[in-house]
Symmetry: D2
Subunit: 347 residues, 4 copies
């Protein structure tokens, strides 16, 4: 921590701050500049956040800045090698770019079975489909819930695809975990801490979507919640953030992928569907995801987007998905070459 | 709804869109412009959102825009008179500006009792204090939970103040409702739909805080969730939104107060503490809240901010709170004069 | 400056950084933490920004943070007393709340004369009106230019109001200065540095509007440009920033007013018209401006808003302006009481 | 245009609106919904923006929405084939991915010559380098100005690279045009309309950088200014927008590239240096730019970034640039295959 005092802070104020720092179990390095005093806080064992918050509230202090990262288990300092999460036939974080695909919502048996078979054939390894749907309006379709989960399980059996689906409340964690291979936390729940804790106590891998206005640091802190409560099988998902631009549904923060790769060992997935909200833009964003080194992507596909109960505008048709996968092939080869080289270099 | 077709949409595409609209139970008014066809969708009974989403996904459509508001019960169209919520000795939405005050977190008996007595004396009608705390880091203080609730009840008994406290998951709604007079939904849970539904089934008034990056429309939709599920005692809270500016913790969207007053009959509360994150700015923002016509405010106060376990930097001292309340007096008089005139005019 | 090194920075890297700091003429205070080395940079005379930028680019450095403010002349450290700018009969920054009012664009003689007389009668001291108009589209009305300036001068003669009008390029500074009492820099030009430098060499007071996405610090840096080039008569204007919210044209960052009052001695003006973009919201925001301690406001008024060539939706009618001024009266009295007390205390 | 009236607008209000629309030279199509009247405005020849602004200010109107695009010459409706801009040996918008590279600022002869030779050898076709520098602080290095331009010309002579450099005010357009092959408009000047008009009258190609908080529509409107004033050789540049995220200097709106490709025939360049602000992230973003179909990129390169007078942290070393270009090779091959196929299909 670095504490900068106000330019005219009194000697007593500086001394009081130093005392408080020592009370929290840290050591003090004071630097007298021309204009003000700056205090370096050194040591381990103390509660950094508590100390920081206290000092910010203390008279004479202008700013208290944390230097060390506030997360631990998810950081690259803690673990250098990539975390690889095995789900069904896929290894997320390994040397294959993993595609998750399927409809926004599970709507009926025909729809989910048809989509599952088609995406499996086109190269997807994991089936997405919402059974519990977070909807802005109470009057919109809220998902098939338990029945939807059963249909997903049926589709898994038929196709061998693993299943990812959303869980919206800690109350439903056990139920969803019975059917899902990956538990998805939606963007609006990224800081639903009760849910994060419950997922930490669960045995299933989790995909944590970045909140609409969450920083990369907050995303890592939410992942830290899950890991700190016992579950280290976490992957992160960039799905676009909210900005002033309305030409796309969200603004895809594509740089978040390499930034996360510098900060964490957890796998990173790109969601080009929510990131753009528009079918015609999905293939370009999918290529970008491969190019920046994401570990996989999650894409919305529907047999008839205009009849989809949700997110039709951003869903690819089955034919559109097939074409995109073919076009991605060259990019994925380049991706694989680099990843294999990285793993070889690590040996 | 207004559907604008792409400039070169074919006749078949236009016809297909019209057909789809009729399938949803609406009537069609087609307008042929020089460049493109625009279709007006008229009628009631159909599912507007579903129709809109479907059309956005249909070939030849450029944009589908909703004209009617997506919320109903919370709108001023539905109910013209202000909703007044009685809690203890306070009437929120009536002709008194209501102040809620207290510490960020309940920390111990001495702290909460001392603060409660002081804020009551200075003019607050409602005591705030967190027992369940949403914290960005899993390593930060998570609240006294059940014990905190009991201390709040004790403070209520001693002072006559009503109590507002946060509930973080649908699982805890019954427990919190046992102790609280107002159930608070935090900004990070504004779209925790499982929680909103549970609060709709609960008998306690609810204060719904605006999400960090939620639009005013989304805030109203979340309120609509609670009302549509059975609970019409909802108040809204502006607490600052997330923007690029870092000089303050959040950016107080002060215009949200008069905008909400145009759109809804629900009371609106301002939170000048979270809106700024800095003690010295709280009184100015509190004055602004009164000036724009908020129904009340919620303010953080702590006997010794630098020893607060959370949010010390934005907490007023007891003395600071007292001074602010005195200084606000003239502004509140102007507020009351206008409110009383409004009620008189409505008779 | 504080330089924090990467956790595994080598000894050579640390030494190289220290050397670089000394080359820039500063002294080094190195702190060895458990995880990393943090270096405090102390001293005056060196070029802080250049040093900072260099260190950020140097191997082993994680982050370089500036502690001292990057502006000087505009800061409260430099000058404690408020800057008072005399323009016509008004003293901006003194003990009167100053109102500037008038149409968005000067359209013709009748319009500007009628508006000038009406706003003067209702209490405005300064007439606003654009002769050079920055318009998003090349096909929109671009202003009456020179003829508009002459009409403004005529209205000044007839009413005694001082005149504020926009200058869009350094090429026009001399021309506009011939007619205007205050030179306005529009939001889109806040970082038009050629214009800022030219205004620094001009003798007229300047009102600098905050850019749509400019931080408060950047606003102060732009003011510093003008002052550093020779003109200390600068006032700042908060006119709303760009965020994700679309219910208002911009988001009024009302807290910017007290934040600026803590950081600078320059007067601060609120523009409730651009901050909201909607006539019905202007009076509430004007009250908020008074309540938070702005030194004045600038408001759009038009005799017939629906016939205005620009910004009609946010222009008050003459009758609406008159009503707002009456309603503001009580708030301005409270404002004056506080300002007079402040000046008395300073004696 | 579509005008939606307020739910309880009177018959007279509706009629008045229709009359106003006809005064502007348009035809009226009125649709009576259950809740409100919606009016479609049809026809050509009238002034759409003026009509829209007028109606927004007219009593009874809730919202006025433009349907047609506000730009014309830059739109794909106006011209289907890509605009190809020939500069030196490069064709921007054609079937080669064009790389522009060089230092942020021209600092001295040795620096610019060394960099120019190195980037030419590594595959760049265009040399970047700032002679006039827009700097947030008046105390920072403002560029070598005329001397810098001469050094750029010298580097062009030595290497055959074309030169791109920034022009900051309309006053300097003639001077810069004497030396530059491409005139760059910086992000802070994207809506400096005096500058845009002057560039419209100039014969040199222009690269227009997107403003920090400008929408894609505004970027196109600024391009329209240049084209409407006579210069059709315009290319656009995505360089990151300002959001709440601080992990990167700006947030690269990568989707802007395919969005622009849908809307305009003008070439689109990506700037991965400003988009991230961090050297280590540049190569990943460059790959993303190729993958989404940008026509080229502009990258900062410096022989010794830690001694750069500006932007050192985001500048690649010469060695780093060379490596990046090699690694990009596979991606550029895929890019070329698709571009050539597109051109072949268009024949």
């Amino acid at each position: 921590m670095i504490i900068s005092m106000r330019p005219h802070a009194t000697k007593q104020e500086v001394e009081h701050v130093c005392e408080r720092i020592r009370e929290f179990g840290f050591r003090v390095h004071s630097i007298e500049g021309e204009e003000r005093v700056v205090i370096g806080v050194v040591g381990v064992g103390g509660d950094v956040t508590a100390c920081l918050e206290s000092l910010e509230a203390t008279p004479g202090v202008e700013r208290a800045v944390r230097i060390s990262a506030p997360y631990k288990f998810v950081s690259k300092e803690f673990r250098k090698e990539r975390t690889v999460i095995k789900v069904g036939r896929a290894e997320i974080g390994g040397d294959e770019f993993v595609t998750m695909a399927g409809p926004c919502s599970v709507e009926n048996e025909k729809q989910i079975m048809e989509t599952a078979e088609a995406v499996a054939k086109a190269g997807a390894k994991i089936l997405r489909g919402g059974a519990f749907k977070p909807r802005t309006s109470p009057y919109d379709f809220q998902g098939m819930e338990g029945d939807g989960l059963k249909l997903l399980a049926k589709a898994r059996e038929a196709t061998g695809l693993a299943v990812i689906t959303e869980v919206m409340t800690d109350r439903d964690v056990d139920l969803v975990a019975e059917y899902a291979d990956i538990m998805q936390v939606g963007a609006r729940n990224m800081q639903n801490f009760a849910l994060l804790k419950a997922l930490g106590r669960c045995q299933r891998p989790v995909m944590l979507k970045r909140g609409l206005s969450s920083t990369i640091k907050e995303l890592l802190m939410s992942a830290e919640y899950i890991v700190a409560h016992g579950n280290s099988q976490v992957m992160l998902c960039e799905r676009g953030i909210r900005t002033f631009e309305t030409a796309t549904r969200n603004t895809c923060d594509i740089a978040a992928v390499p930034v996360l790769n510098e900060l964490t060992h957890l796998p990173v997935i790109l969601d080009p569907s929510h990131a753009t909200g528009k079918r015609s833009l999905v293939p370009a964003l999918a290529r970008a995801g491969v190019a920046v080194g994401a570990d996989g992507m999650i894409v919305e596909v529907h047999p008839c987007p205009e009849k989809a109960v949700s997110d039709g505008a951003q869903s690819l048709t089955i034919e559109g998905f097939r074409e995109m996968m073919q076009q991605l092939d060259g990019y994925i080869r380049l991706w694989k070459r680099e990843r294999v080289a990285e793993f070889a270099a690590a040996l």
